[in-house]
Amino acid sequence: MAHKVHAGYTVLAPIRPGHADAVSALLRTFRATPRRLPFVDVPSLHFATGTVLPATSWGTEPLPATLMVATSFCGPDDVHVDELVRVAGSGLRELFAHCQGFAPDASDVDLAEFLARHRQWETFYSGMHDLTRADVLAHDKLRTEIEDFIDRAQRDDELPSTPTAIHAAIRAFVGSRADLRWALVPDRRPASAFWARHRRTIRLATLLVPYLAGLVVGTAMLPFGTWPALEVAVGLGWLGLFAFVAVLVVALAGVFEAERRQTFVAGRPPDEYARALAASQCNPVINEMTASAPLKEGDTRPFVLTLALWIIARAAEGLPIYGSLNIPTVATARWVPVDRSRRLVFISNFTNAAEPYVRDFVDNSAQAVNINLTFGWGYGYPKTRGIILDGAIADPNGFINVVNTNQQVTELWFCPYAHLSVDNINRSREIRNGIAVATPGEKEASQWLTLL
């Protein structure tokens, strides 16, 4: 059984000079006529964003206009790419035809290769693990049918009076329906999901653990004999470690120095712009935001950002290194280092509208530290201290201003279940898991019924 780990696939392709407006227009057309880029027919897909990152600069270094197509999907990468190419290939070709290095008559293999070549690693957070889009929709249908069953039974006064008896009645109902019966079989996560989710951490650990253990053991052995080869190896080992620490210290010192020098903090963006953003956030349940900005000044910032994003990415995959990354309103969030980490892009699908959603971050102090760590790099973000202090905590107005300034009106957004919050999705899964339990105890059944 294939795993269903939720991940991001972000493709960045520099746009041919003069084509940026055409790409934006095409993305808008695709949004209006989904048949031309039928994401709805890509089974592994959850959300998708298509947008143009405008040409800008980091200091004096120009950053090109870039097409970004960012999907979130579940399952193996190659299956997702394969589906994208097969189902949405012609729309994607039309888009990438405006990009450098893409031949419009590319074969499926060429297109898949182009996607893989332009895929950018990122920090990806998901609030809903191990679910396909079909699962989400099936759970929603199951829940609705169960709710309707209870409503009917209550109306006809036919509902049993104890929790276990009600649970059994619901199970019998589910079992009686050919289209719902699947829910009686418990959902099991394949072992491959663990590897798929933590493979980067595991790979690093297989390098680092022997290295550090060897270093410690080797160092401890040295006083007990004369092993010239070991001496050299241990010496090099320590040297490597010191070199890494030294580079880190210098890089961090560079960032701290740049923090002290910062003078610019974004002001309130023009009202017309904020209004256009607000108008793009009118869905009652889920909305999307894309924000992109070149980094603040500081030559070593791209390096430190890369390292930080890499570590946060492991935390987002579930590794408990940096508190717990639990963002309750977020279905997906991703931080993408673009242009060799000279520009940072944030994309999220979340409950509520963008401004109140980001306001949530600064409303509670524990989260605000995370926000400095993940957003504090962008140009115009309030001055941080030691990367995580001050920033949005000291200046929430400045934080909202910089988010509004850097947020884009996303041209193309695909969301297959706009009526479900991430909380709904997780709760429906609990309902589904509970119905698969054949004989729960009275307490368990009672607790399960509170989900309805």
Binding site: R143, E147, I150, D151, Q154, R155, D157, L159, S161, T162, P163, I166, V265, G267, R268, D271, A274, R275, A278, A279, Q281, C282, N283, P284, V285, N326, P328, T329, T351, N352, A353, E355, P356, R359, D360, V362, D363, N364, S365, A366, P382, A394, D395, P396, N397, G398, N401, A418, H419, L420, S421, D423, N424, R427, S446, L449, T450, L451, L452
Partner: protein
């Protein structure tokens, strides 16, 4: 500072609000300059009559405030409550759409004059005086005379005690130890120019130091990023005022309760109380799950997270639990996180009821017994609240809590009492009410709308010095 910020004038039960448009700028300025607004500092002067004045962005434009000054007001205020995307997100569409309003859209007001008095006689006399004074420069808009009529025992028209829960503000609120918030809410949440819950200052309108009139205003306090340059603080001691006129369908409300309880589940008054979150006499459902107290209650120190996590006593989707979720915001947030966040979305409510009582007794049993409306009268609530940040406080609450179908643990619900309903076939319906119970909940579907928004606007309630600045000659 205008006195309305620090007191709701419980002792002045008679009130009328006039929504006005400027007809002669010079005369309007003269009127505003000489208007004896009741200050916060002198409660004695408000023993019999109190006067307040607030302006819309259109009003400030009409008074020719310099564009650079106007631009420093909040975006929400400048755009107004009826800006199209705002209407959609606040649930002010469909039945509540601005196109159907009695006031506030086709002809937006410029100024709102608020008169409070100890008796009808004193109110009448004061109104006559004010009408004579403003007549040369301002006129009432259509339906601009907002009469109010207090119901005894702080009741609103459905028959429930209102105005019980107020955020305590150390600097000016009454504190009686019966509050949910044990640490007071920072004054900057409700008045501009003071520290807010973020330990900073909410965005406040300013005047460049070199501009005429700036010298009469206090300087801005040093803030982290706002404003970028020292300036005169036009917002200081002022605040934003949100006004929404909500008509209440009282017979429809009680008819619905009667009808639904006949289908099973709880008794009609209990169902209505479940929707509000308190019993008609004010007693909270959390602490009195099985029945009300004999006496009217002001009880307000109750919590949700431990006492009632699943909403078995007070439904998660009830009006008060949505309007202020206290220590249980849901979505896996801890009590501490919830409180930290909910503190930043509080409002000072200053509502007044209007229209005759559906039944003079205001007893829900009497209202239930009356099956049909006996009269055709409009009745409802002038919902008024004071906030230093319209977006973070009123709009956030209205959108993310009151109107949201997915508030808390819900899927398709909306505020059962005041929600605007989106109905099937809209994919995002919010016209259900889930009433948690043992062994299993009961759902009420296709809820009718019990309140209708018939007018509204965002106003600026200036401090006294700011009012003088606004009323000065600004030139074209």
């Amino acid at each position: 500072m205008q006195g309305l910020i620090v007191r709701g004038y419980g002792g002045l039960p008679c009130a009328q609000f006039h929504l006005l448009r400027i007809t002669d700028r010079a005369a309007a300025r003269r009127y505003l300059r000489t208007l004896e607004v009741t200050p916060a500092e002198k409660p004695a002067s408000a023993r019999e009559v109190a006067l307040h004045v607030a302006l819309t962005a259109d009003g400030l434009r009409e008074l020719q405030l310099p564009a650079e000054v106007l631009a420093t007001f909040s975006r929400e205020f400048l755009e107004g409550m009826d800006e199209p995307s705002r209407s959609t997100s606040l649930g002010d569409d469909l039945e509540n759409a601005p196109e159907k309003w009695r006031w506030g859209h086709a002809e937006r007001p410029h100024v709102m004059l608020m008169v409070y008095a100890v008796s009808d006689r004193r109110l009448e006399a004061e109104l006559r005086r004010q009408e004579a004074a403003y007549g040369a420069g301002l006129r009432l808009i259509e339906n601009g005379r907002q009469e109010t009529r207090q119901i005894p025992d702080q009741k609103e028209h459905f028959g429930f005690r209102d105005g019980i829960s107020t955020p305590p503000v150390a600097e000016f609120g009454k504190r009686d130890g019966n509050e949910f918030w044990t640490t007071p809410i920072a004054p900057g949440e409700f008045v501009l120019g003071y520290l807010n819950e973020h330990k900073t200052y909410s965005e406040s309108p300013t005047v460049p130091l070199s501009a005429p009139g700036a010298a009469d205003l206090p300087p801005t306090v040093e803030n982290v990023s706002y404003p970028a340059h020292p300036a005169a603080d036009l917002g200081k001691n002022g605040t934003y005022l949100v006004v929404r006129e909500l008509e209440q369908d009282v017979p429809g409300f009680w008819r619905y309760m009667a009808e639904k309880s006949r289908e099973g589940g709880v008794a009609p008054i209990t169902l209505a109380a479940k929707m509000v979150g308190r019993w008609p006499n004010g007693a909270p459902l959390v602490t009195h799950p099985d029945g009300s107290t004999a006496q009217s209650s002001n009880e307000n120190a109750f919590r949700y997270a431990h006492e009632d996590p699943d909403g078995l006593a007070c439904p998660i989707g009830s009006h008060i639990r949505r309007a202020s979720p206290r220590d249980q915001l849901g979505a896996g947030r801890s009590e501490e996180q919830s409180e930290q966040m909910v503190r930043k979305h509080q409002m000072l409510r200053r509502a007044r009821t209007f229209g005759h009582r559906y039944d003079p007794s205001m007893d829900p049993r009497e209202m239930l017994a009356k099956a049909v409306p006996t009269e055709d009268e409009r009745r409802g609530l002038h919902f008024i609240c004071l906030v230093s940040h319209i977006g973070r406080q009123f709009e956030f609450v209205q959108r993310a809590w009151i109107q949201s179908p997915v508030f808390g643990t819900l899927y398709k619900d909306g505020d059962p009492v005041i929600g605007g309903r989106r109905k099937y076939p809209d994919p995002n319906i919010n016209d259900e009410f889930t009433c948690p119970a043992r062994p299993v909940r009961r759902k009420y579907k296709h809820l009718p709308q019990f309140t209708t928004l018939v007018g509204g606007g965002y106003f600026f309630l200036p401090g006294l010095a700011a009012l003088q600045y606004i009323a000065r000659e600004h030139g074209a």
